[in-house]
C-alpha cells in the first residue's frame, strides 16, 4: 500500500526514501473505527445534538451561516451511485449511507462556510483534560496517504484529457469542480471496467508486465450494467478556490473550537501500539462519507506538503518528535483554539504560535475539502473493498497500475504524455461504452439475454462448485447418455429440411407415419416423462394448411386479439377463449410431418412477420399454462420454423443465410425471443427441463445450434435453469433430472460445438454464440468445460487474433476490439480464464 503515498509530481525514480513502510506510516486509527455499522456516524457527523460529540456540523452553537447549497450535483449523483453499487454488490448489499443524514449530499463537499461552521461549532469543554501532551509517534503518516492518493490518480486522467492544462492546476482545489461533466462521471464509472480495458490499450499494455493485469476484472464485467443511463453532468463547485480568504474569516468567529475528530483519546493511544492493520480493512466497510471525512481530516493535519515524498522515512524524526501527539489527530484541540477563538480573552505568545499553526491547518483543510464528490468516494470505497479480498494487492490495485504507467521503469520509458492519454482514453472509452456505445444498442432482446447469461454466470460463480459432485455421487449419477444414445455423426439437416430434399413422393418412412399423428398437448407434456406415448390417428384426418389458410387463421387471431384488447380497455374480465381457440395450438402438434403444410398452423403462422409482431401482445392475455403449452409446442416444432429450417448456414452452398431469412431472423430476435425470455421467467425448474427435453427429443439439436434463433432459445432455457439452480431450492430429483437432461443435450452437441460459429460472420458480432457457450459451460462439469474449450479453441484464438489485428487508435476499432474480447471473456470467465488480445490467463480470484 505504500503507493498510497506516492507523489505524482515527483520524478519516477525515488531513492530509498521513497519506500514507505506501512508499519511506520500507519497511525492505528482504524482500530477504533466501528466498522460494523454507522454507530459512530452521529458523533462523527453531528447527526444528533445530544451525543457526546466532539464537533458539530450543524453549527448549532455557532454563528456561522448555514452552508450554501453548492453541491446539488452531489445529490444528483446519489441515486446512480446506489444503483451502481447494488449492481456491483448485488441487491443484498446494504446501503448504510442512505439512512445517514450527512450523506444526503449537502455536506459532502465542504464549502468555506461549512468549514467555518465546523470550526465554530466544536465544544470546548471536553478536550483539554482528554489530551495531555504526548510524544509524537512515528506511525502517524499512514492516513495522509489518502490524500495524495487522490492526486496520484486524478492528475493523469485529466492530464491525459486536457493535455494543455498546466500541471499545477491539477493540484488546486476547485480544479475538479471546474471541469463540469468529467469528475462526476469518470470516477464513478470506471471502477471495474477501466482496468479491464487497460490490457487492450497497446500504448501502456506493453508497459505493464503481463502478470500485473488486474485479474478481478472479468468478474466485474458481467456485473456491469450493459447500459448505464447517462449521468447528469455535475454542476461545478464554485467556492473551493476561495480558500486563501479563509484565514481572516476564521479569526472573526468568536466561538471556541475543539477537536474535529470523534475518536476518543484512549483508543488513539491504544492504536499506537496496535500492529498495523491494512488500510483497506479499516476503510472498506465504512461508508463513503466516513472515508471522505477521514481523508479530509487527515489531510488537514499540520503536515507540510513538501514532506510527503519522505513520509515514513527516518529523515525527519526530530520534527515529528517535537510535535505534541494530539496535534496529529486533533487539529482543533483547546490549545490551538485558545489562540484564535478566545481572542477577546488573553492571547499569550504561545497561543499565537498555535494560532498560526492552526491557521495553517485550516488552510490545509480547505485545500482538500470538496475534492471528492460522491462518485469519487464510491470509487475509493469499492477499490478498497477489492483490496480486502485479493491476495496480491499490487496486482489488483488500480493506483499501483497507474503509478507504474506514470512512473515507468527506466528501460521502458516512453512518452509520458502518450501514456496519460492512453489512460484517459481507456477511461473515456469505458464511460462512453456504458453510456450506450454504438455496439450496445444493437439488439434489445439479445441484450436481455446477455444480462440473463451474465447473471447466471455470476450466480454460478458464487455457488460452491463442490456440492455438485457430492450430490451426484450420492445419486450414483456420474455419466449418462452417451451409452444409450450414441452420437449421430453426420445428420446435420433438420427433418423438415430433409423432407424437402427427399422430395414429396417419398412414402417409405413408415415409422414417421405411425409415430406422430396429432399428439395432444397434454400428451405432449406427458412425453416429458414418457416419450413413448403417441397417438395414432387416421392419416386422412391430417389437414394441410395452404398459405391462404394460414393467412386466414392469422388474420382471425389478430382480429380476436384486437377485439379482446378493446374489451380489456372497458372491463377487467375478458373472455380469452375465442382467442385461444383461434390459435389452433392443439391442432396437429406433431413435429414430424410429411408435408410442411401439415405442420401445426400456429407454428406456420410464426413464419409470418405479422404473427411475430403480435406475440407479446398475445401473451398478455394468455395464462401461464397456455403460454407453457405454446412454448412446449414451439420446442417440439422448432425444426419446422422457417427461421430454424432456413436459418442455418449449413444448408447453403455459400454458407450464408439468404437475406430474406436474415430479416425474419432479425424480427424473431426482436419479438419472439423477447416474449419467450419474458415468459420463461415464470416457468418452474421442472418445466424448463421439460421444454429442454422436448426440444432435444424432437429436434436435431446440433442443427438447431447452428441457427441464431435456435441457439438463443437454448441459451434462454439453459441460463434460466442455471439461475434457478443458483437459487439453491431445487429438489434432488429435479437436479438429477437436470443433469441427465444436460448430459443429453451435451451429447447431442459434442464434437460439433464449433459448428455453431457461422463461418461468414463478417461483422464479428457473434455475442450470442459466446453467450451460449458461457451458459453451456456453466451448466457443465469440468470435463464438459474441457470438451467445449477443446472444440472451440480455434475460435477463441481467432477472436484474439481479430482483436489484435484491429488498430485501437481508431475509436470504432477500439470498440470492436473491446466487444470481441468482452464476448470471448464472457465465456472464458466461466472457466476461470480471461483473455486479452495476446494471451489467455488464469483468472485470479
Amino acid at each position: 500500500m505504500s503507493f498510497f503515498g506516492f507523489d505524482p509530481s515527483k520524478p519516477p525514480q525515488g531513492g530509498p526514501s521513497e519506500s514507505y513502510d506501512f508499519e511506520n506510516t500507519y497511525d492505528g486509527l482504524g482500530d477504533q473505527l466501528d466498522d460494523a455499522d454507522d454507530a459512530l456516524n452521529d458523533e462523527t457527523f453531528g447527526g444528533s445534538g445530544d451525543v457526546g460529540k466532539d464537533f458539530n456540523f450543524g453549527a448549532t452553537k455557532g454563528a456561522a451561516p448555514p452552508p450554501p447549497q453548492t453541491v446539488s450535483y452531489a445529490r444528483a449523483a446519489v441515486a446512480t451511485d446506489e444503483d451502481f453499487m447494488s449492481e456491483l454488490w448485488g441487491t443484498a448489499k446494504p446501503q448504510p449511507e442512505v439512512s445517514n443524514p450527512v450523506s444526503a449530499g449537502e455536506k459532502k463537499i465542504l464549502s468555506l462556510e461549512e468549514i467555518e461552521a465546523q470550526l465554530t461549532a466544536i465544544d470546548p469543554s471536553r478536550q483539554p483534560q482528554q489530551h495531555p501532551m504526548q510524544p509524537f509517534p512515528q506511525q502517524q503518516y499512514g492516513m495522509p496517504g489518502m490524500m495524495p492518493m487522490q492526486y496520484g490518480y486524478m492528475p493523469p486522467m485529466y492530464g491525459g484529457q486536457y493535455p494543455g492544462m498546466p500541471p499545477q492546476m491539477m493540484g488546486q482545489p476547485g480544479f475538479y469542480g471546474q471541469m463540469p461533466p468529467i469528475p462526476g462521471q469518470i470516477p464513478g464509472q470506471m471502477p471495474g471496467q477501466l482496468p479491464g480495458q487497460l490490457p487492450g490499450q497497446p500504448a501502456h499494455g506493453q508497459q505493464m508486465p503481463q502478470g500485473q493485469m488486474p485479474p478481478q476484472i472479468p468478474h466485474q464485467i458481467p456485473q456491469q450494467p450493459p447500459q448505464q443511463p447517462p449521468q447528469q453532468p455535475p454542476q461545478p463547485v464554485p467556492v473551493q478556490h476561495q480558500q486563501p480568504v479563509q484565514a481572516p474569516s476564521v479569526e472573526t468567529v468568536p466561538e471556541p473550537v475543539e477537536s474535529v475528530t470523534s475518536i476518543p483519546t484512549e483508543t488513539v493511544k491504544q492504536g499506537e501500539n496496535t500492529p498495523a492493520v491494512p488500510l483497506s480493512e479499516i476503510l472498506a466497510p465504512s461508508t463513503r462519507e466516513e472515508i471522505a471525512q477521514v481523508a479530509s481530516k487527515k489531510s488537514s493535519r499540520p503536515v507540510n506538503l513538501s514532506q510527503f515524498p519522505v513520509l515514513g522515512s527516518k529523515s525527519t524524526p526530530q520534527q515529528r518528535s517535537n510535535r505534541p501527539y494530539h496535534h496529529q489527530n486533533h487539529h482543533y484541540n483547546d490549545e490551538d483554539d485558545d489562540g484564535e477563538y478566545h481572542e477577546p480573552l488573553i492571547l499569550t505568545p504561545e497561543q499565537q504560535i498555535k494560532a498560526a499553526r492552526r491557521q495553517e491547518k485550516v488552510m490545509r483543510i480547505m485545500k482538500y475539502s470538496g475534492i471528492m464528490n460522491p462518485k469519487d468516494k464510491d470509487f475509493v470505497t469499492r477499490f478498497q473493498l477489492s483490496q480486502i479480498v485479493t491476495e496480491d494487492p499490487y496486482n489488483e490495485d488500480f493506483y499501483a497500475q497507474v503509478f507504474k504507467v506514470i512512473h515507468p521503469k527506466p528501460n521502458q520509458v516512453g512518452q509520458p504524455q502518450e501514456q496519460n492519454n492512453s489512460i484517459a482514453q481507456a477511461y473515456l472509452d469505458q464511460s462512453g461504452h456504458r453510456l450506450g456505445g454504438r455496439y450496445k444498442r444493437a439488439d434489445v432482446a439479445l441484450q436481455r439475454m446477455q444480462q440473463q447469461v451474465q447473471r447466471a454466470v455470476t450466480v454460478a460463480k458464487e455457488r460452491p462448485k463442490l456440492t455438485q459432485y457430492v450430490r451426484e455421487g450420492a445419486l450414483g449419477r456420474i455419466s449418462i447418455g452417451s451409452g444409450k444414445k450414441p452420437r449421430q455423426q453426420l445428420e446435420i439437416f433438420s427433418q423438415a429440411v430433409q423432407k424437402g430434399l427427399e422430395e414429396e413422393g417419398e412414402t417409405g418412412e413408415g415409422e414417421t407415419d405411425k409415430e406422430n399423428k396429432g399428439i395432444n398437448v397434454k400428451k405432449l407434456n406427458n412425453a416429458i416423462s414418457n416419450p413413448a406415448i403417441n397417438t395414432n390417428l387416421d392419416s386422412d384426418s391430417i389437414k394441410k394448411y395452404g398459405r391462404k389458410d394460414i393467412m386466414g387463421i392469422l388474420e382471425n387471431i389478430i382480429t380476436n386479439l384486437m377485439t379482446i384488447e378493446s374489451e380489456s380497455r372497458l372491463s377487467t374480465e375478458v373472455d380469452t377463449n375465442n382467442l385461444w381457440e383461434s390459435l389452433k395450438i392443439l391442432e396437429q402438434t406433431s413435429p414430424r410431418v410429411n408435408d410442411p403444410k401439415e405442420v401445426n398452423p400456429f407454428i406456420q403462422c410464426l413464419n409470418h412477420e405479422k404473427a411475430l409482431k403480435i406475440v407479446s401482445r398475445l401473451f398478455k392475455f394468455l395464462s401461464r399454462e397456455q403460454i407453457l403449452t405454446i412454448a412446449t409446442l414451439i420446442m417440439s416444432n422448432l425444426g419446422n420454423l422457417d427461421v430454424i429450417k432456413h436459418g442455418s448456414y449449413t444448408t447453403y452452398e455459400d454458407k450464408k443465410v439468404p437475406s430474406k431469412y436474415l430479416k425474419l431472423i432479425e424480427t424473431y430476435s426482436l419479438t419472439f425471443t423477447k416474449a419467450l425470455m419474458n415468459s420463461v421467467q415464470d416457468f418452474k425448474f421442472n418445466e424448463i427441463i421439460g421444454l429442454l427435453v422436448i426440444l432435444i427429443e424432437h429436434n436435431n439439436v446440433s442443427f438447431i445450434s447452428t441457427t441464431k434463433i435456435g441457439l438463443s432459445i437454448l441459451t434462454t432455457l439453459l441460463s434460466r435453469a442455471e439461475l434457478i439452480r443458483g437459487e439453491g431450492t431445487i429438489s434432488a430429483a429435479d437436479l438429477s433430472e437436470w443433469s441427465s437432461c444436460y448430459d443429453e443435450l451435451f451429447t447431442a452437441l459434442e464434437s460439433r460445438i464449433s459448428l455453431i460459429f457461422p463461418p461468414n460472420d463478417v461483422e464479428s458480432i457473434e455475442s450470442y454464440v459466446w453467450q451460449f457457450l458461457a451458459t453451456l459451460a456453466l451448466g457443465g462439469k469440468l470435463n464438459h468445460q474441457r470438451i467445449i474449450v477443446d472444440e472451440v479453441r480455434d475460435e477463441i484464438f481467432s477472436v484474439m487474433n481479430k482483436a489484435k489485428a484491429l488498430d485501437s487508435t481508431d475509436i470504432n476499432n477500439f470498440y470492436k476490439k473491446q466487444n470481441l474480447l468482452n464476448n470471448l471473456n464472457m465465456f472464458l470467465v466461466v472457466m476461470g480464464l480471461v483473455a486479452d488480445e495476446n494471451e489467455i490467463r488464469e483468472l485470479q480470484t
Partner: protein
C-alpha cells in the same frame, strides 16, 4: 397450391385481400401499371393504401419506369388484379 382447405365455410374474395394485410402485394392497374407494396388497408371498393410501394409503368420499349413511393392510396376503380407476393 392444392391444399385441403381447413375451413372452407364462408370465404369470400375480399378475404384474400384481408389476409394480405401487413404483407406485400402486387396490384395490377389500368394503364399498364403495377404497384408493389405492403398492404396497410383496403375497403370493399378495393381502395387500398400501400406502404413502401414501387410503381412500375410499362411501355412498348420493354423496361418499365419504376417509381418509389413511401405511402400511396390507390383508388379502387383502377384496380384490375391483386396478388400476394411471398
Amino acid at each position: 397450391m392444392s391444399s385441403v382447405q381447413a375451413d372452407k365455410q364462408t370465404e369470400e374474395p375480399l378475404d384474400l385481400i384481408r389476409y394480405q394485410l401487413d404483407e406485400t402485394v402486387l396490384v395490377k392497374l389500368r394503364g399498364a401499371r403495377e404497384m408493389k407494396g405492403k398492404l396497410q388497408g383496403y375497403d370493399s371498393h378495393c381502395n387500398m393504401v400501400l406502404s413502401d410501394a414501387k410503381e412500375y409503368i410499362y411501355n412498348e420499349t420493354g423496361e418499365p419506369i419504376v417509381k418509389d413511393c413511401e405511402m400511396v392510396f390507390i383508388r379502387g376503380d383502377s384496380v384490375i388484379l391483386i396478388s400476394p407476393i411471398s
